[in-house]
Symmetry: none
Subunit: 199 residues, 4 copies
DNA sequence: TTTTAAACGAGACGGTACGTCGCGTCTTTAT
DNA sequence: ATAAAGACGCGACGTACCGTCTCGTTTAAAA
């Protein structure tokens, strides 16, 4: 490992990410400003601009720092008790809990808004957050296929979308309450098959 | 119908909505400003503030004007050829076409960003755009139930979510290309049932 | 007189000029900022930038407002008691008093610094401050010529420079104390002739 | 002479002074920055701050280096051909030439601005530049007194001010063109006596 | 010759101010 | 009476420099 060339201050980095998450949690994405983040972090604005191209980029780093912790790529996968339906329900219930907790919800919504507005941030988001998560989900589904719980022919990407996108969408657009009932019902509907009479 | 009480200038209204859509289509939501909309519309800023509470509200009106045309609630429902799978595929293909057309995509994305950031706008959006659309979709699915193509027990809301949310999500987050292949595949996966061995 | 086209706020204008003079008097030209002037005046920065191109320009207007009072071009000329030497001495003593009074000295020094650095401001300064003043001085000298106290052939511009520039210079560069002794002595030296034996 | 205590780099010193003069000559005093000087000199900012307290101080050193060359206090005095008027005219003509040459004018103006704004720099300027120069001028005038060309009673300081301040002032404030005509005329006016009828 | 302490280049840091843009309000002018 | 025009107080933008503070790296004096 070559010696670090830059003398970046980790204290400043941490203070900025923390301040960003807090601020965005308090006043929302649109009303947060880089100026306010810097002030709350006790940092010069330039220190933010030096290392991040945009407010959204700060939020992405903050989210990654908070949710992945460190270097090791998220090691633990989705639960596998042998019961696919129960496991997916549990995962979605956990998601519901998070999305109903303002401490998580506000920054995540802010990050999402940023991603919607900024194509290049969307790419980074995809690469660093969406894809790793999707991979874990597919791994769980793949295990279910191997265990004979899921048709081996089904497209796992489509299944993942089908299970998780409705929740994300309902949350994002606030088109309805996010409850265990909703997600449980969704899982049952999706995983039970829909056409009738069954071919 | 009672005579209009306000002397609201329809010319100004139209100019503002047009300018808003154009501007947002050119520079995106975040970089658009009420100031610029007013300038482009040849209108005083106050004329905008008089009638709309926010930029997002202007966009919502603009979208409704453009896509519904006028007062009468969108009368035509989804196509019904008797083949549910084909009809849904056609609807999603049309959606894909729209979302891939920058003239529609940019303002719609802008509107969505506005909705994400503004809870009260989200409510209005839900009422005036999301719910009417959802009603049409459910009507088509309900017809399929009556025709014996779909289990009578299935929750139509869940089916609608399952079919349309993945597309919306993929579009919003740009997590993948929006193609006919994707939507066709999605419809087949969702409507064919997933568990194996079946029940 | 045509009706005013702009709706400029006189309250803001006055507040800005006052704040500028005060601030410059307290911390000096270099350490004054437009930001601080605006803050002290209770005014938005843009209101300064809208009407003045630079800090120095504000100071010039402030100086003119303070020292000329209003529209009528400074009507009173230099004193004329019939005794040229005494009159010039009195004028220079008054100048000394002003330049030794921090309330006048600091803003005037600030203005001068601004003029030195900005060619176009120098032109305006010349036109609006220097030339009117010089005209008054020359009028007094011209009267002396008509009264036979001064050679009719002498170049009045040169005499004005000779009498006033040394004081200005000593003040500007702080190359010595500004006292009545100095100015009295200067007037005597200049107006008495220097060559010896005379012509 | 004790050995140098500090290991100051003469290469750096020279590079800094050169860069300062060049930069100030190109963009003016106000728009020059220590940062830019350091960059142009290929030097760390700290190396400037280590040895000079301010931008103006650098300029003063640069001016002294350029115009005095080295340690020995400017040995050559003003010309003395025996004709005072001609000699002073020649000196002023040389001054005019310098002040009309942008390569000298810009840095000198910058230095002057710095001196106006900084009282302690003014003191140093006085001691190291103004006074030595003034001494030379007075020596020439003193010689004229000894030669019977100038009244023995006249105050030489006043005469120096009277002859040189008008030129400096006209240059500084750009209140008129700097020409040989002006300076020649000035010398004649000053040195010929002004009162009439001559006492 | 080797050591060693300074001065060096580089540049990150917490800040201040820049000059611009846009906010939402308010006032004036001209239909 | 209503609309365009746009000035206003305000706040944030992203940039430029401030002066201070580490960082390794010369480099020249002392050992």
């Amino acid at each position: 490992m070559p010696p670090r060339i830059t003398r970046r201050s980790d204290a400043a980095r941490t203070a900025i990410l923390t301040a960003a998450v807090e601020l965005v949690g308090e006043v929302g994405y649109g009303k947060s400003s880089i100026e306010a983040i810097a002030a709350r972090a006790g940092v010069g604005k330039q220190t933010i601009y030096r290392w991040w191209p945009s407010k959204g980029s700060v939020l992405l780093d903050a989210y990654l720092d908070a949710n992945v912790g460190g270097e090791p790529e998220d090691p633990q996968g989705l639960p596998n008790t042998g019961d696919l339906v129960a496991d997916i329900k549990a995962v979605l219930r956990a998601t519901v809990d998070e999305l109903n907790d303002p401490r998580f919800e506000r920054p995540l919504r802010a990050l999402t808004v940023a991603v919607l507005e900024d194509e290049s941030l969307a790419a980074e988001y995809s690469r660093r957050l969406d894809e790793p998560t999707r991979r874990l989900k597919k791994e769980r589904l793949c295990a279910a296929q191997r265990q004979g719980q899921l048709s081996p022919e089904v497209d796992l990407d489509a299944v993942v979308d089908t299970l998780f996108a409705p929740v994300a969408q309902r949350w994002l657009l606030r088109s309805g309450p996010l409850t265990y009932e909703y997600t449980d019902h969704l899982v049952e509907t999706v995983l039970t098959g829909l056409l009738w009479p069954r071919s």
